[in-house]
Symmetry: C2
Subunit: 378 residues, 2 copies
């Protein structure tokens, strides 16, 4: 679609910039020479190069990125396509994440172009468009899936990108990721040490690769704690409170319910609180829960949610740095970093106050009771 007809624009009066010609005139050189000097071409003598650098710095010369782009195709801007859909995904971290990206970008005098989409297809379309319009030189891909169509698209277009998260096929992939598997592992061991023997795991969206990893970490933790995994105590695809509540409810109705829960996602874990209230169970004693993400909402729950918090700002900053290096041609093998989530100990976990056997009686008692009155939360 062409942008319509009579789009007559108002003039923007802006301070006139110092151009490369200004610099070259001041130096008595041609603009071609100045350009080559500044861009590190080898056929410029050191003395001239230094002279050019000094003068252009003094004159405050800054090349106009879109003027360079016309020849180079590069804009010095990184693209970020956020997909907001059904569940709130990265909503809570967004501010920090963006702040980190922007900070990392501006370090190198780059900018950030963001766009949003509301479906996978929409996201791909948007990425493609940004690429076509040269509005982004490369992309940061948050929330990577096990098999990610964005990766396929960009790989095929041989356009630079960097993942926030990992993925199955790592060909051409650079990434930054938090070791969620380690966090899950630690969470299980912590609960086991507190005396829990029935530990449930409620995983996040199964399309995301982090789910694969976190499950692995959890299972490894169980193994080290000497607990045999029980398939009934593993749920998937819980990302919203409702999902978490459903999973919790189902597991509590087992003949041998868990006394502790590990959630792969904070927001899902918040659903447990609601179910606990329904059954009259105290979170942090009757029922323990540890989750992952560090969303602000967790701090406002009572008791506050023990969680593994990720530093989204750092993630953003590292991703920006990595992507810039990627655009500049560095090999992906050098561009893979990880970091750890940090445990925030709060009040939602602790030694169990009842055994699984005791718990099952409380739950069933409540179930019978609530068949008559319309079981309220209060």
């Amino acid at each position: 679609m062409l942008n319509g007809q009579k789009e007559r624009n108002a003039p923007i009066r802006r301070a006139k910039r110092v151009t490369i010609s200004d610099v070259s005139n001041a130096l008595g050189l041609t603009k071609g020479t100045v350009s080559r000097a500044l861009n590190g071409y080898p056929d410029i003598s050191d003395s001239t190069r230094n002279r050019v650098r000094r003068v252009s710095e003094k004159m405050g010369y800054q090349p106009l990125s879109h003027a360079q782009a016309i020849k180079t195709g590069r804009t010095r801007s990184l693209g970020l396509v956020l997909q907001f859909g059904d569940h709130d995904s990265h909503r809570p971290f967004l501010a920090d994440f963006l702040s980190g990206i922007s900070h990392g970008a501006s370090q190198e005098n780059w900018t950030v172009t963001v766009a949003t989409a509301d479906s996978d297809g929409d996201t791909l379309k948007t990425v493609q468009q940004l690429l076509d319009e040269r509005k982004a030189d490369g992309f940061i891909l948050p929330r990577t899936m096990t098999d990610d169509p964005r990766v396929r698209l960009l790989r095929d277009a041989s356009a630079p990108f960097v993942l926030y998260g990992r993925t199955r096929d790592t060909t051409d992939c650079a990434w930054f990721d938090i070791l969620g598997e380690d966090a899950m592992h630690d969470a299980v061991l912590r609960l086991a040490k507190q005396g829990h023997e029935r530990i449930a795991f409620v995983n996040g969206g199964s399309e995301y690769y982090y789910s694969v990893l976190r499950l692995q970490g959890m299972l490894q933790g169980l193994k080290e704690a000497g607990i045999t995994p029980d398939p009934d105590l593993i749920a998937t695809d819980a990302v919203r409170p409702e999902d978490g509540a459903a999973a919790t409810r189902q597991m509590l109705r087992l003949a041998n319910p868990p006394t502790a829960f590990v959630f792969a996602v904070d927001m899902a874990a918040l659903g447990l609180y609601q179910v606990a209230a329904e059954y009259g169970l105290a979170v942090g004693s009757d029922l323990s829960v540890i989750a992952y993400d560090g969303v602000p909402e967790g701090a406002f729950a009572t008791p506050a949610l023990t969680t593994f918090s990720v530093d989204s700002r750092q993630a953003g900053e590292r991703l920006a740095a990595l992507l810039i290096r990627r655009v500049r041609g560095e090999a992906v093998q050098n561009l893979r970093e990880t970091a750890n989530a940090t445990l925030v100990e709060r009040g939602s976990d602790g030694p169990p106050t009842m055994t699984s056997n005791h718990l099952v009686r409380v739950v069933s008692a409540h179930s019978k009771k609530s068949e008559y009155p319309k079981g309220g939360t209060k």
Copy 2:
């Protein structure tokens, strides 16, 4: 600072685009003519113009914004500089807000460039830089202050901008805003109707213009309810839970404490919950509270916070549309829109269970008691 030397770039293989020359060749016209035809110059015959439009559409021609920018100075991108500082400001709404902006921008084939800053000075510097580098044709200014330096900067540079919020000096200002004053007014009347007679108001950051407006709305509400305002029941600069807690605590210790609170900011209102727990007061009955913003955290408090929710996505979308029209030269007088917040009735308000006199006894009893044990929240 010049971007260093040997920044040798990797080639990006990208689908080759159809350029204006391709189109002009196909038509047997010069590229100048094609350009003028597409951009609505009057010296092109209707028949030619239509022919050009048809063919370029069929060929999928899309002008490269940075190629146009080199001559026009415009990139078709709107700038958004987010300031994250001390308190979390727009953190919770950011996702929706961005989504709205991005959506509004892409409607007209524009893009969004975002940057972040962590102080007022930093923000101004960033805006200036984006302007200098032509990375943004105009700016969306969220959280406008009564006297906003960003407005002064952009006004002086005669660069287009649009406010999210209003400000004192409206010269050259276009805006979109939510009528927070109406919300505050309605909140007061609602509480008054429930039977409250002592109604406190805890305002937000006093540098923001919304505080001026919301206070006005609140006072108007009191007036209509026939309640004389009490200066002791008005606090300011509460934007975080701690701030709200402090204000609440102070007012509860008055000889004649309020039974209801209106908060200008949700996050501050969450602090009241903590203080209520300290004093053993039940929110929603012993103490009523209504706030404003609609942050997700409010839904997770118990009881859930009654609040006036703002549609940030809509705000973003409208702002983008307004800014684009502004860049295209439309007069600011046509570019001023407002909308209303919508009341979300939840459990944090209701008829008072005690009079102010009764309340004061509960509070003082608790104060004495808590001098001995180390007063815990639990």
